[in-house]
Symmetry: C2
Subunit: 390 residues, 2 copies
């Protein structure tokens, strides 16, 4: 690894948890595993840990590469590394694959110890709150009483926000990027079409396709194609593909006419090869279900009153999936609670996907915010001590 | 029929054409039928005819009802009738089901005389230009040398625009509503997902499902669900459904949680019962292919230079499928050609679907425009005489 800005070669570690976890749905998982990566060094007083939460299709593999594996760069490698906005020379970064996902943590593909068969459709529907609970137990295991920050984009941002609510004393900064306090009706509608694409694929077999030795590939492909459209801005799509044809002329048939069709089919097929269909369903449901103000009669200010952390929120002008207006709802609710809030609205062309891309102003905002967090650490503003049952 | 504003009970008429029609794709249909409805009375000099063009899922049944059939009201009944914006007391209105559609005109479900079997996947891909050609032949048959107006919304608006280009001397006014000079990349992308939903349904059988006695119902359902989301504005969806649950609580499973899911599933299922899958594919391709400036190097002004008609264009502020900006491109290109153009941008909450709904300001604009056309008729501004090979 010749790139001095990379964390270099990394290896995941599997953490097994044998204490049962009670989930929001009412079910209990008797035991579970979490696949984890860490970068940087936890300091002596364990005050420099940053948890990075992933969105729909990502994982614990946030940064670095796997030795001997081409194209294995972590999904947020432009953000996390030595000298990067989240600087691993200063911070100890934790990435964790969420419960129910398909990259090593316990999920629908895992063997249910009670039956000896994959969980499949019987894997419980998990929520953002459940993920935060599992992540807190991981923190216990790592001896981290309090995170310097919890950070995430999109669904990851929901987890960062939920950390502030579930464990107000265990997180000093929440970085909520390209997120929303709850999905809009249209967001739910797109998720529902994606789910219906999967469940109506005959190879889905009610979620127990593992037993049939197949995967609902065409359903997953469609789901990803729909999702992909919502991640990009209309202008960005036009800029990238326009109405450029694949061949010389319209083919007046079912073959690909426009390059964008070819691109979407390819993205869909690639996705269907590595992502688990049951996980797709679970995670879109976790998105739909997230709504901290649900138990405060829709009053977001009241719902966020329990948060004690400081907040950085970032949105992107062309993000029509989780538009800036949605982030501003969180900003306003936090400010109404007199919290310490920094908000940046980045004028970027790339729609929702912008949170994953390298944009100078965006990275400068996140970088300076972490400078501030680092400065607090150096000034030895010790974290509040919390009892942890590690 | 007690409603004095309805055209009352109507009956369609099938017109058979035996002169072959050469299509844009290069293929020729040796003969074809068009299903047609007319309302009002053609005046002595045949100058008061208005052609109403339909969009994706509609038909020749524009207004009125079918005797003995409940819920058989025409798709634009709020616009067309005695005393309505397009007043059948003054105008002779023609509705025609387009070639390739599935409501009686020749299309994939029809028997191919060469084989005795349904055309199925072998039905040629048709274009907006082809439809206009077929409509012009219908006009010949009806003895209409020149339409007072050709009018349509969405894909129907494309046909109205194309009339101005294909037959500049045979149309005096083009009414182009909620339309666009060409689909955006994002528009094409959504159409492509819809098509892939259909073709990946195992019951599609490469388009020859008729022979198997099945229909690709789940594919059609998905296609309609995707389409439906793009027809509504995000705000309108939120207003109508919000995050209202169907039951008392999340069900943490695959059943419907939110009312919007239930609504979309229902709409999709209803659609799959009456619409032909091959037609859906053909018509979305016709949408994708429409691009009058394709042969003028993208120069819309040059492409529209041949139009001689006067134009009314209407767009709706919350239409994100064919946004007002797209209509303004047509307006600007026409004005650059010094054409007579009226443009109204209606502040309406209902997204693309607004063109089908009753909105006082919208209907007032269309109504006054037809007043103007009627006044021209009364002033006996005779249409230009054109040689017609009827």
């Amino acid at each position: 690894m010749s790139n001095p800005q990379s964390v270099g070669f990394v290896e995941p570690t599997l953490y097994s948890f044998t204490e049962p976890i009670k989930l929001a749905c009412g079910l209990t998982l008797p035991s579970y595993d979490l696949m984890v990566e860490t970068y940087g060094t936890l300091n002596a007083d364990k005050s420099n840990a940053v948890l990075v939460c992933h969105a729909l299709n990502a994982s614990h593999h946030v940064a670095g590469e796997y030795q001997g594996q081409e194209r294995s760069t972590g999904w947020w490698d432009n953000m996390v590394g030595p000298g990067k906005p989240l600087d691993t020379n200063r911070f100890f970064v934790v990435g964790v694959n969420n419960l129910g996902s398909c990259f090593g943590s316990t999920g629908p593909m895992s063997i249910n110890p009670a039956t000896g068969q994959p969980y499949g459709a019987s894997f419980p529907f998990v929520t953002v709150e459940d993920w935060v609970e599992a992540q807190a137990r991981l923190a216990d295991r790592l001896g981290i009483a309090q995170f310097a920050a919890v950070m995430g984009g999109s669904l990851g941002g929901m987890q960062a926000l939920q950390w502030g609510l579930s464990y107000p004393d265990r997180v000093r900064h929440c970085l909520v990027i390209a997120s929303t306090p709850k999905l809009s009706t249209q967001n739910i509608a797109f998720n529902e079409v994606a789910r219906q694409s999967i469940v109506s694929d005959p190879d889905f077999h009610g979620g127990n396709y593992y037993a049939h030795g197949v995967i609902p590939k065409s359903g997953l492909k469609l789901a990803r194609m729909i999702g992909h459209i919502t991640y990009l801005s209309g202008d960005d799509m036009s800029e990238k593909f326009g109405r450029t044809l694949k061949g010389d002329d319209y083919n007046y048939g079912l073959d690909v006419d426009f390059q964008v069709e070819s691109y979407l089919r390819y993205q869909g097929e690639k996705f269907a090869e590595y992502f688990d269909a049951n996980t797709y369903i679970l995670i879109t449901k976790a998105l739909d279900y997230f709504d901290p103000a649900r138990h405060t009669g829709g009053d977001l200010k009241l719902a966020l009153a329990k948060a004690k952390a400081k907040f950085l929120l970032v949105s992107f002008t062309t993000d029509w999936r989780f538009a800036p207006e949605r982030t501003r709802e969180i900003v306003e609710a936090l400010m109404a609670n007199k919290r310490d809030v920094t908000y940046a609205e980045i004028d970027a062309p790339h729609g929702h996907d912008a949170f994953l891309l390298t944009d100078e102003r965006y990275h400068a905002v996140v970088g300076s915010y972490f400078e501030r967090i680092a400065a607090e650490l150096t000034a030895e503003l010790k974290p509040i001590q919390v009892e942890v049952s590690a």
